[in-house]
């Protein structure tokens, strides 16, 4: 168990020790956690900086700060808790909060800290990111001193516009052996034969049976195509467009540095986007458990109930990740305690049997710890959002009524609801965009492609973003997409934006 660390008042330090004791007792496993007490302006500042005390200078942090301060002063929202994924883990308590609130926040924070430390999607993140962010700030300021504030700020505007063009699997890909061309033909023997996947027959008369000429021909063609593709840049569609631009765009050294900062930070924040439901649900599960079972005093129960119900309240048209997350964990725990899983359970069609199904396995707690380690939001929902759960929690799908403009309940069909939810979570709700050709039309133009999955890009934004890609690439850029079911190509040549039908079937397999 990590030592209780410095806290601002002796009372809070004592409280932290108490809460941390409960958390460890339940088996939560976290980095050393440091609480700091700050006032509301400071908490808004840190929240605007994405949880960090120091970021590089940029107006969009000011915009976020403006929004947070205003929505607080109008009583629309209040930040209760702020914790960041670092080692040690920093968490902030709001000065002037009631004692019971500080308790709740601490309990909640230990849930997050455990999640940061153990969820596999966070395993690649830089745990010294406070220093990382501060270094980035120093580097950006230095560039500003050298080339001017406005130039750097404008370039940051451009880069920020592209910061979702990254590849969530990139970190995992890098750890695989490189599949560079030429890597495969090493085993000696006849290279040409091996490349064609030719089998040894040993007998001449069997040759045409074992290695039919048509097959060899198709193999040869495939290899040629592959060879042609390998000459293309990139050889395969590339999702990490930021890395692609860093390698291939004609950037000045300071621009490379700024872009790589934006990329690094985008990857750092990615797991939080991928595990919003799981992470908040986990923290909510634990604050609820710790508070109601251990920490709460009788006289605090009304205040606690008030806050806790606010945290998990769900408006009719918004998914509250706290709520859906905590309910799912509880459901999983309950099912694994009673053995409501596996083929036997799946096969059972009798409702009465299912309702009283209890094999007394008691595996629930172990299972949720396992889930918090291995899953992200997409496969969490995919696997555990069951029809039973959906019905019990009264989920529905809503849509806008074209005529009246009202939002209406469109469906209570489980399959549709789940589909919708998964779609919103996939790729953290971002479209799939690839860099496919850096020498498009043999003119050094950059071609991007959008893998269309039923929803069009937001057009006005796409146009503006494309302009920003051009500012980095410095040659005309195009993107292939689908608009109203028709394949289209949007192109920006540095002066004007054009859109044309894309008739030739794209030969890019995305």
């Amino acid at each position: 168990m990590p030592p209780v660390s410095w806290s601002t008042t002796p009372e809070l330090a004592e409280l932290q020790e108490e809460i941390q004791g409960y958390a460890s007792g339940y088996g939560l496993d976290f980095f050393t956690t440091i609480f700091e007490v700050i006032d509301y302006r400071q908490i808004c500042e840190i929240a605007a900086y994405g949880g960090f005390p120091v970021r590089y200078p940029h107006w969009r942090f000011g915009m976020e700060y403006d929004r947070l301060i205003k929505s607080y002063s109008y009583g629309l929202s209040k930040i209760y808790e702020l914790v960041i994924n670092t080692d040690p883990c920093y968490a902030y308590l709001l000065d002037g909060n009631r004692w019971v609130d500080q308790k709740l926040v601490m309990a909640h924070v230990y849930g997050h800290c455990d999640f940061f430390k153990n969820n596999s999607y966070f395993s690649h993140t830089n745990r010294k990111m406070i220093d990382g962010m501060a270094n980035h700030a120093v580097r950006v300021r230095r560039h500003m001193d050298r080339v001017g504030v406005n130039r750097v700020e404008e370039f940051i505007d451009v880069c920020a516009s592209l910061d979702n063009l990254i590849d969530p699997w990139c970190k995992y890909r890098e750890s695989l052996p490189s599949q560079a061309p030429g890597a495969e033909g090493e085993g000696g023997g006849d290279d040409a034969d091996e490349e064609l996947a030719k089998l040894r027959s040993g007998k001449n008369y069997l040759e045409s049976y074992i290695n039919p000429p048509e097959f060899l021909e198709s193999q040869r063609k495939k290899n040629e195509d592959e060879a042609a593709r390998m000459k293309r840049i990139p050889p395969h569609p590339e999702r990490d467009i930021l890395a692609f631009l860093l390698t291939h765009a004609p950037l000045e050294p300071w621009e490379v540095d700024v872009l790589s900062i934006i990329r690094e930070e985008a990857y750092y924040f990615l797991p939080q986007m991928q595990t919003k439901i799981m992470n908040e649900g986990w923290a909510t599960y634990w604050h609820s458990k710790i508070m109601t079972a251990k920490a709460l005093k009788d006289d605090e129960i009304v205040d606690y109930a008030d806050v806790a119900s606010g945290v998990t309240s769900m408006g009719p048209t918004q998914l509250n990740p706290y709520k859906i997350g905590v309910e799912l964990y509880r459901d999983i725990e309950d099912r694994w305690n009673k053995g409501q899983f596996g083929p036997e359970w799946e096969r059972c069609a009798r409702l009465d049997e299912k309702e009283s199904w209890d094999k007394q396995l008691g595996l629930g707690r172990d299972r949720i710890f396992e889930v918090r380690k291995l899953y992200n939001d997409v496969n969490f929902i995919d696997e555990f959002f069951t029809e039973d759960f959906c019905r019990r929690q009264k989920f529905f799908m809503f849509a806008k009524n074209r005529r009246s403009g009202d939002l209406q309940i469109a469906s209570r069909e489980f399959a549709q609801i789940k589909q919708k939810m998964l779609h919103q979570l996939t790729n953290a709700g971002q479209p799939f965009i690839f860099a496919v050709d850096a020498n498009y039309m043999n003119r050094g133009e950059l071609l991007l492609a959008h893998r269309h999955e039923g929803v069009d890009l937001k057009l006005n934004y796409a146009r503006e973003t494309l302009k920003n890609v051009e500012k980095v690439w410095r040659r005309p850029v195009s993107i292939l997409t689908v608009i109203d079911d028709k394949p289209k190509r949007i192109r920006y040549d540095g002066r004007e934006i054009g859109m044309s039908d894309e008739t030739a079937a794209a030969d890019y397999v995305l």
Partner: protein
């Protein structure tokens, strides 16, 4: 790091953002001023200005068929309306984020807007006259009491009270924490009266609503008085507005009526001026009040006689009392536009009178400058 440094850091980014917003507003001020939409977006102390350019564009999903809507939770049949604005949905879950085609709306306080207007038009600040320490009494919620209307019941305080009672009477079981309030536990929000400094300036708007003033003319008056209001409000702590409409007779109305009424019939401007002067006489002592009067008309008066009555009222009672009298003549296809000529020939360079002619919405900006450049 010290606190001082931390504050300075976000303040720089914040200032930079506000500068960008102000720059955008300034660039488009003429457009904003001449279009009425800013008026419609007015809140209590601020306006929201749609500002699409300030957002950072990204490749994101739009909202065609499938993109719109989302997943929600609760009771209801298919086809039932679900409450809530889809655009508000982005608050807590990413699920809601692609729901609305949301423009970035920037909120600007009226004070800031007035400041931008002042800078852009080169308006001098007004030196208020008189120092009034009059106070009005305002209600403010401060505490709790045991009686009150149900709408003001504080649920939390009520439950806390009930908890206290149950613990005291030994009916509370911490193993099964159930709290049931009874009648005596109920607590209601209560208020106390707090003094608040009262306004020291008044604007009296007068408008000709006779048949010849059409909707377009009124829209111009509406927009122009919004901006005048915004500017004067930024110059005084509190300000009162009074509204008078007239055709052949005048009456005082509320703000909504002022902008929506259309009457037919003749025009006797003197009726409005007389009412205005009575109002000042009775309620606004010129010693202590900064009085502004604005009159908008298409310049068509009933008779020469009435016009001379107007001139008399202005000379004898209005000018001595007001900081400034503004006359705005809105061009209409039906009016003769004679009145402004009469005023000019009668008063020449009387410094309290400002006349301005507005032909179309594009002239509003210049007209405002005309009215307010005196800094009176």
């Amino acid at each position: 790091m010290t606190d001082a440094l931390m504050i300075a850091r976000i303040d720089n980014d914040h200032r930079r953002f506000r500068d960008i917003v102000r720059g955008r507003i300034r660039e488009n001020l003429r457009k904003y001023v001449s279009r009425g939409d800013m008026v419609a977006r007015k809140g209590k102390d601020s306006v929201t200005i749609p500002m699409p350019q300030i957002d950072i564009p990204r490749f994101i999903y739009g909202d065609n068929e499938d993109g719109e809507g989302g997943v929600g939770q609760g009771e209801g049949e298919v086809g039932d309306k679900v409450g809530g604005d889809p655009q508000e949905g982005s608050g807590s879950g990413k699920a809601g984020e692609d729901a609305g085609d949301k423009e970035v709306e920037v909120e600007v306080s009226l004070e800031e807007l007035a400041e931008i207007l002042g800078e852009e038009l080169g308006l001098p600040r007004i030196e208020p006259r008189g120092d009034k320490n009059l106070e009005t009494v305002r209600d403010k919620y401060t505490g709790l009491r045991t009686t009150g209307p149900e709408s003001l019941r504080s649920f939390k305080a009520t439950f806390q009270r009930a908890l206290k009672r149950q613990i005291a009477s030994g009916t509370y079981d911490s193993g099964k924490p159930m709290i049931v309030p009874v009648r005596e536990d109920r607590r209601y929000r209560s208020w106390s009266e707090q003094p608040k400094p009262e306004s020291s300036a008044v604007i009296i708007y007068m408008m000709d609503v006779s048949g010849s003033m059409g909707d377009e003319q009124k829209e111009i008056v509406r927009i122009e008085s919004f901006w005048i209001d915004t500017w004067l409000r930024s110059q005084y702590k509190g300000i009162e507005s009074r509204y008078i409409i007239h055709d052949a007779t005048a009456r005082e109305v509320d703000r909504d009526t002022f902008f929506s009424t259309r009457e037919s019939g003749g025009t006797m401007i003197s009726s409005a001026y007389r009412l205005c002067s009575d109002l000042i006489e009775e309620q606004y002592d010129a010693e202590n009040w900064n009085i502004y009067a604005f009159h908008f008309s298409d310049g068509d008066n009933w008779s020469v006689d009435d016009t001379s009555t107007c001139l008399k009222i202005m000379r004898e009672t209005l000018f001595p009392q007001v900081n400034q009298f503004g006359y705005g003549q809105v061009e209409s296809p039906y009016g003769s536009g004679q009145f402004v000529k009469d005023l000019r020939s009668a008063f020449g360079d009387e410094e309290k009178l400002v006349c301005s002619e507005v032909k179309a919405k594009d002239d509003i900006m210049d007209s405002i400058r005309e009215f307010l450049k005196g800094g009176r």
